[in-house]
Assembly symmetry: C2
Homo-oligomer: 210 residues x 2
């Protein structure tokens, strides 16, 4: 029930650059968010303390609290960052294939494949965070809104591709994807790896009206 720190504490830097004059560091806030993202994802929100985050970000607790007025707020920013990154995927998809829904769909499936085959041992960071947080935690609203947007993106994608029941299809695809990511951490890596094949089969079989 404990996370033993494995974070290097050897840091001899002053002010955005290491003593040896290496590459300058990003400002503390960004470093903290980057580290929080890594540690929260790998070890969970509850097991990672603010001091660990601060030290891993090559700063200290005081500076952390100058940028985030509480750990809860840091968690909210953490969730916001993840949601923004997820939204960015959809924006890139829309920009890459502005008027070709079929290609947009293919590109999304490719993206899913890439996500599920890369190092995602711990599944969806936002879903995990939702599991750890009480229902009234402010980060929950961020997470739920994001998942809602994600589902609606899918509905629109299928509607644009003229599938007959885009709502139901979106739900189905959404649940398959979510199920794959949660089941990764329950031991079954197998099912998740086959989900891309399922997706392609499903989309090929589903009825269109055009």
């Amino acid at each position: 029930m404990a996370v033993k720190s494995v974070v290097s504490k050897t840091l001899v830097q002053t002010r955005r650059k290491t003593a040896a004059g290496d590459a300058p560091l990003p400002p503390p806030r960004e470093r903290i968010l980057a580290v929080a993202r890594d540690l929260f994802y790998r070890h969970g929100l509850h097991t990672v303390g603010v001091e660990l985050i601060a030290e891993a970000a090559q700063t200290n607790k005081m500076t952390l609290y100058r940028h985030f007025k509480s750990k809860d707020e840091l968690v909210v920013e953490y969730a916001r960052g993840l949601a923004a990154e997820g939204d960015a995927v959809w924006e890139r998809l829309a920009e890459a294939h502005p008027d070709n829904p079929g290609k947009r769909l293919d590109a999304w499936v490719d993206h899913v494949e890439q996500v599920l085959t890369s190092n995602v041992e711990r599944g969806c960071a936002l879903a995990n965070a939702a599991v750890e947080l009480q229902p009234d935690h402010p980060a929950r609203a961020v997470i739920e809104a994001y998942k809602q947007r994600k589902r609606e993106h899918l509905v629109k994608l299928f509607a644009d591709s003229h599938y007959r029941d885009p709502e139901l299809l979106a739900d189905e695809v959404f649940l398959l994807f979510e199920g794959a990511r949660i089941s990764i951490q329950c031991g079954g890596r197998g099912p998740a790896l086959r989900v891309v094949k399922m997706l392609r089969d499903l989309l090929a079989r589903a009825a269109r009206d055009g």
Copy 2:
């Protein structure tokens, strides 16, 4: 980042029966496990302390530690209990329809429907526990073994019903179910409610070889 106790602390009982001579209580170990099950599920493993569990079980921390040598062990027993209950469902299914795979399948879908429409605001307790626990926690092995068994039960169910690709079908159904339960706590209750329809459609459309 805190759970404020809302548990009644008014308890004036001595030894397995209340002062007023009400119904006798089960032995402490069972009470503790029952309460742990409820509180761990509703609030998560990390946010619920052993003292809260003990008091809610109408006993105290000392007695709890006489039956479980650590909180981690209590968590393991918690997981074991949930897994055993899940296994019991499959046993009842096998007993109810020993030589009629079709009815067994129908009964399972009914069971899924019942699970997803009852009060499961927090999804699958075992999946949630896996999210909260480090990979080397002993309870993780219990959870992973259970999910593995569950998937194999599904494979056997589909194989007995002469579906053409029981492995793939089992994965698909498994992921849909898992996805439904995790997505409940991410705000989207909608998709989960439609999963039963998806299941029936999927099973109706899937190819059989007999």
